[in-house]
């Protein structure tokens, strides 16, 4: 499909950035609009599930993710008493 339209992505979060990279691979040239001047961590942890990670791996991000993240080995649910 030839590019007959412009694509604007509102927000450069995980979804917006993933969309931009995936569209770029597909031959589009999207423009991201992001109000923050720099992309920085917020001090929160984000777990990304295997079926989503698979797509980030397809985008060639496995090595860089491994360098900054921790592979989830197990998920433990605990109550206040254990």
């Amino acid at each position: 499909m030839p590019e007959e339209f412009n694509i604007a992505i509102a927000g450069g979060g995980i979804g917006g950035l993933t969309l931009a990279l995936t569209l770029h691979r597909a031959g589009f040239t999207p423009v991201i609009y992001e109000r923050a001047d720099v992309i920085a961590e917020l001090g929160v942890g984000i777990n990304i599930l295997p079926h989503a990670i698979r797509h980030l791996v397809d985008l060639g991000m496995l090595e860089s993710l491994d360098s900054i993240g921790i592979r989830t080995r197990e998920l433990i649910y605990e109550t206040t008493t254990g």
């Binding site: 499909m1 927000g11 979804g15 995936t22 569209l23 597909a26 599930l49 989503a52 649910y77 109550t79």
Partner: protein, 143 residues
Amino acid sequence: MGQPRGTWAGYDVPQFSIHRGKLQKCLADAVRDSLGDAAHPMYPVGSNGASQAILDAVAIARHLKSDGVAGLGAYDQERRPATADIVRANRKGGPDGVIDLIEERAPDGFAALDDVASPGELRAIVGDYQTMAGYRPEQVNRE
């Protein structure tokens, strides 16, 4: 998603609040759609905030590539049902709801988990959620 709507997955949601201000003018004639937290009115428990956003993004790109702007309709049809159950489940606590169940039954703690809830019961809460959200190993691993 798609055309402006007042509800999503049966819930009232604000419409296109991100398009206020500067963007509004240049997007007046644009076809708009949303993904991730902007599209799913839920508290993103169960690791489904970023994960579903990524799945949405990949789906949008695939449909735009194959059908152009018209593909957004197919994106909506693909991702709305896939995420609606997650939105509903997360409003009831999602997989983390297993903690509430145990605390409710054994507020003073427990010696053995099996005395509080059966393995089958626990599997039903956490395991069914895995299947619904699509990340059981057998759903994810490539053939």
